[in-house]
Symmetry: D2
Subunit: 304 residues, 4 copies
């Protein structure tokens, strides 16, 4: 088990089967600095074009289609004292009649206090003088190469992950992606200091992080959608439009998970989900929306 | 301020402009026993037909179109030691290809321990031997008569409330409905012992409660959608299909709330919502789905 | 078989179980003058409030829930030399980013040449000097009372019909509605001189007609959705949002029609629909959208 | 202007930036034989894997991002006396409750009479003894490489075209695609002998054609979505889910076309579209659905 300090010198705006920038063994840890959604690094230098330039891909030896790539998010350390957001709700998250009355989509600055681990608007906006947000770091966009030699913009998401903008993708969370290309080809970037559900202004607080992840191949898992786990919950992720379809994907995946891996009958899985499931909204800004279906671990069958 | 012990002897399957069963003054409290979603009372007697028969309507003196009816949910006491659910996920919450493989939509029984405040499957289902759910009472369906002399089935929801099946509608929560008919004409019923997000089997644990609510008219509030508040959050409710549109309604309403009542500029409201908003999924089973947009009170401008 | 000259003196903004304005026998013909979507009659007098005030309801003796009401549209004669439309695409039919750039939703006038049976903008709009549209009369909103004592705004549509704004509802077409209340309670109004698919500016050319319809009860048909027939096609109508769901309703209904009434096996019905079906878009402006699924009669099994 | 007889010997399951199989000059004509959606050629030999293997890409000299590739469909000659379809409606086009009752998705055979230009089920299916469908050849999947180095499965569609399954893409139609990669990289395949709207069984009658197209670069057109023209209409194509969004894309594109190329004011474009537009449904089977917005040429401003 090695630790790789991976210094990216090129970035990608797609998740796809492009040549690997780093090769690691299953179980290795990677530490890397990400740039922000507009390609600006921790020193304020524009290093890559929009949207959401990714570090990677990382080729994980032994990963083959049908396997899962387990990604443990071990640490996210903010490394830039500034972030930015957009100053208006996105047109697609409000009623069509209200879309024309929204403010301009200006870019505004936030001060990130790396000591106190907080973010504040800079300059302050009248009415929000007291808004001091605690950092809740998360990875906005990550995943693996999709099937068939496809390549998807980092502005969207699909079975292979991508720009899901889910607040749950922070330190302490483990995520599994369905491997669809040799070596999995793992990408990551677009990290946020914090974010509301839905990323409804089109951004979290966009900044740079040093991210530490452990990458492990799990053979023959046969996943369809990304799955995750944190201290208290397991969760399935669906990416699609409309949100109803993202919810169908996540719900179906959780059902299959409970039946195939947890050994519940379809009836038992229905009972458990019907009375305990929780839904979280990831991105509702991008071409594909993200819905997360989660269950508290204490409700899962005992032997797991 | 009076307290009314309201014993319903007829029930309604629509929210609409039907003759009032009770008239109260603004600020009065009503205590009433609800029957379950299939019209069965606490003694196991079928009292009314499906779907979701409602107690009411209650005419609140002084309520006029343009006003808000404030409903404080003061108490929900379970009064029947049994509940029921459906044994399968609904077809519309899974991928279309999976819909045909779901188990039959059988009705199953739960034992409700009124002392311990828990619910357990009765008989127990293999794999769920340890599933002891704490009661989290909530009102599945409530609201006021809609505008124009319309009348809507209690199987769906709209601007006037209705069958929203949101877990947040429990004791301690206050809800405001947009009054659209003289006297508001308040209805309630379809209470659940607990429920997962989305009501994805088509039911919570359906049972009977003694519910205590305080009804107060707030003049000229000009609401469009139901709004609510609990100990920690304020929230707006959107009811529509697809879920995307429900989310648009709830998001637009929260934006308008922050701008008009909390005095934030559109830019400030966007910032606040973009980085702090949370979405909850109500019903995704009925003709109209429910999405809730909430904000933690600690982020609201200080003077409120 | 009688012919009734029905002169409305009150109008309704809902389809629901309101007292009948006229009672007819099954097979009778009704001739009536409609007012426009804003309630203005052929003489320019405002007679009723928005939206879409309806003539009716007409009680058809013998119609009971489970029956179908057959409505033959025998004739539509325009009776006002003016019509009006809205001067901008609706916000909900364009991309959200484009919604704010649309022109104002002004009301504009059209001249209707009752002799030549054409409509022209009045005053003419630059660039459209040559736009002389032939009249293609259609009923924008009609249907019967819904089930359960519900009542729905004439701004929307459902299983009982309503504001479907389908170009196919013109003279020569026969429509069947699912009866859900005693007497069916038939309503009609909101007639258009012509209209594009989708009613994407929110109006057709709104004007007044003398409409002649024959109303016949067909016992025990057990319809779910409106169905229709013209010289060349049979069609099923679905009303819902999103359009995908309206399409699902219409497609399912056509499938059931072919299997239950035309005696096709599910496989044969699939083949026929898969290779010959056509879809038409009704309203995509109102709360519920309308999708029509039609099949050319020449492809139907011979014995019909 | 050259004519190329292009014999494909490899096929692609994505539209993307893969090495060109043929290079042509702007204005050249290409004649090529396509294989069917399962990769079977005119002799019944499986030549390539699913889904929808494409001939191409064809590099068109001079095509650059921002240009349009004009594709004239000059001829489609069926070259195999057999075709196939699927024997059941797709689960996603019917109501969720009906999805589980559909027949199995078996593959069935059609006889194609190359002389009479007709297709018949082989063996015949009871109830459809008289079903003799005239051939209406169309290209199911074609388009150009998408932007950013993306690559999309031929099972879906996007701004760059792809698997749109629109009946209008037959001989005599001209289509313009937005060029997003040098050389445009044109692909085509998945041709159908005929098809109902929506491709609701998941297939048209899948077979092989000799297709003749002329490819011409139009500089700096700045298209966003595919556009087309036939003898009587111009049309814009939107690809997305839900169908509502596909309709928004197509509607917005037609509006922009009328304003920017036909010189209409936004008000005039709204009037024209509102009263004359027609919508056609392409594919409602694949991840992205297709909606077409068309206008009859006789209504366009005179100078065009």
């Amino acid at each position: 088990m090695k630790t790789h300090h991976f210094v990216a010198d090129k970035w990608h705006n797609v998740l796809g089967s492009v040549p690997a920038s780093l090769t690691v063994e299953s179980g290795d840890t990677v530490i890397t600095e990400t740039i922000d959604a507009h390609g600006v690094d921790k020193d304020g230098v524009k290093r890559a074009p929009d949207p959401n330039p990714m570090n990677g891909p990382i080729f994980v030896v032994g990963a083959e289609p049908g396997d899962a790539l387990k990604v443990e998010i071990l640490r996210m350390t903010p490394i830039r004292p500034t972030g930015w957001t957009i100053a208006s709700l996105a047109e697609n998250v409000v009623d069509p009649e209200a879309a024309g009355k929204l403010p301009p989509r200006d870019k505004v600055n936030w001060r990130i206090d790396l000591q106190a681990q907080t973010a504040t608007l800079d300059p302050v906006v009248p009415g929000l003088e007291d808004l001091i947000l605690p950092l809740e770091p998360m990875i906005g966009c990550f995943g693996v190469a999709p099937a068939l030699g496809q390549a998807f913009s980092t502005a969207t998401s699909a079975e292979n992950g991508g720009n899901m903008d889910y607040r749950g993708f922070g330190p302490g969370t483990t995520v599994w992606f369905p491997v669809a290309a040799p070596g999995a080809l793992f990408f990551l970037g677009d990290c946020h200091a914090t974010q509301g559900d839905g990323e409804i202004v089109g951004t979290g607080i966009e900044t740079c992080f040093e991210v530490e992840v452990r990458l492990t191949v799990e053979k023959g898992r046969g996943l369809v959608w990304p799955r995750g786990e944190d201290a208290t919950h397991i969760f399935s992720v669906g990416n699609a439009r409309p949100l109803d379809q993202a919810l169908q994907h996540a719900t179906t995946d959780m059902f299959n998970w409970l039946v195939h891996d947890y050994g519940l009958s379809p009836v038992a899985a229905s009972h458990l989900m019907g009375q305990t499931v929780r839904y979280d909204v990831g991105n509702v800004f991008d071409p594909a929306y993200t819905m997360v279906c989660r269950i508290e671990k204490r409700w899962l069958p005992r032997r797991f």
